[in-house]
């Protein structure tokens, strides 16, 4: 007599398959001195989804990202990670559980690839054997397998390789959350589309909770489960990629106009495969 349980596949884009909320912004505002950078930001990021924060430079999306791992602290409202306000967390513990990848990579120039990737496991005092194994697996995972590559220094790598090391380092201690701030923005177009596709596959396998900042609409449509459009420090709206593309909203149309003139975007430049490693 009981009705059958509602099927799990009730997922429309607004409420992702799992109900578990990994990150939540509650009425968040952020100001530096008198300058308001973010206002009234309300967001929920479900575990396992990829939320892309899209917006032009200065729209506050990077600031929002830094509020998650407490590089910044909200001046109004609160940001909750795994159900706890970031202020209630021990900052160090919070950050060790969150991977962080930025455009400039932030790799340590005096550390080899290996040591860079092993950074967080070493801070967490893992046994050396486990660290070695973990680093080898990660370098494999991000496609860095050349001989002697692990012993090189960041300045001896190409931009694409450096960014891969950055991703490997962020994944090292197996965090549940990954924050990415225009990670592929500084790469040449061919390398970028290659590494974007790789990341897409990686994400399918690892299903981390990802918050990804970009101003590249194409990248957003490719990687997002949902897209949060930022406009002057506010969230203009949150859309699934399909909704985003179908929307008549003038702000969204303006975004889409940046990619539609050349509909060739779908045909991926196949020459991209041949990046020199």
């Amino acid at each position: 007599m009981l009705p059958p349980r509602a099927s799990a596949a009730h997922s429309n884009a607004d409420s992702p398959a799992t109900n578990e909320v990994a990150i939540e912004f509650r009425n968040v505002g952020f100001a530096i001195q008198k300058t308001q950078i973010l206002s009234d930001v309300n967001l929920q990021v479900a575990a396992g989804e990829t939320l892309v924060l899209l917006g032009r430079s200065g729209s506050g999306k990077s600031t929002a990202l830094k509020l998650i791992n407490r590089l910044l602290v909200p001046t109004e409202g609160e940001v909750r990670v795994s159900g706890r306000s970031t202020l209630a967390w021990d900052a160090i513990a919070l950050r060790r559980g969150i991977g962080y990848v930025i455009q400039e990579t932030g790799l340590f120039p005096h550390f080899t690839v290996e040591k860079n990737v092993a950074l967080v496991p070493r801070l967490e005092n893992w046994p050396e054997e486990r660290i070695r194994q973990c680093v080898a697996e990660l370098l494999q995972l991000v496609g860095l397998t050349g001989p002697g590559l692990a012993k090189r220094y960041p300045h001896q790598l190409s931009g694409g390789q450096r960014q891969r090391v950055g991703v490997a380092r962020a994944l090292a201690a197996d965090p549940t959350i990954l924050l990415m701030d225009e990670p592929f923005g500084a790469l040449d177009p061919l390398t970028r589309s290659e590494i974007q596709r790789e990341f897409q596959h990686l994400q399918k396998r690892l299903s981390k909770t990802v918050v990804f900042v970009t101003h590249d609409v194409r990248e957003a449509l490719l990687l997002a489960t949902r897209i949060g459009l930022f406009e002057n420090g506010r969230v203009h709206g949150i859309y699934s990629p399909a909704e985003f593309q179908a929307s008549r909203d003038p702000k969204i149309s303006a975004c889409l106009a940046t990619i539609h003139p050349e509909t060739a975007s779908a045909t991926d430049t196949d020459g991209a495969r041949g990046e020199v490693k």
Binding site: I92, A93, R96, I102, G106, L107, F108, P109, V120, L123
Partner: protein, 211 residues
Amino acid sequence: MTLLQFLIHNRAQIFQSTLEHMWMVGVTLLLACAIGIPLGILVSRRPSLSKPILGLANIAETIPSLALFGFLLPVPWLGDRAERLAIAALTLYALLPIIKNTVEGIRSVDPSVRESALAMGMTDWQILFQVELPLSLSLLFAGIRVAAVLTVGIATIAAAVGAGGLGEFIFRGLAMVNNQLILAGAIPAALLALAADAVLGGIERRFRFTR
């Protein structure tokens, strides 16, 4: 007697004075590092201290060395022995380049590297010892190099208060209007300065990381 003959003839004494000189310079540099590096770190952490600390070090730098030796003479423990007095004065001179370059070195660390370190969950101490100081080493050694060359030169004046070293020859030569005596002090002092410059410069280059 040619200069060379003079130098060879007095080699034992010159060697002795050179050792004294090196000892003075060495102790000075160790002290200046022990005081200057922590002060530099402090300044990089609390920028409000930058003005007072660098200001004082700057002032110390402007006092004529002979006068500084004189000023320190009445200070109780310091004035007891000429060597002690000399080393204290020399340390004051060596501080400025070391503090300045420590601060400069830490400031020169790429902000994105520091941000990553923080985001990876490193503590302030870990960032200091594993990231900022290692990346500052090149500039830090540049500071020590400047301090070393400076100290080798100023240490000759320490002979005026009886602290020994190569300055003894120079002052005696001046008093006796004997150029050979002056050169017996000046040449080894110049060579010492060049050697310190070369050795520390080499270390400095070793720690230069490509960014």
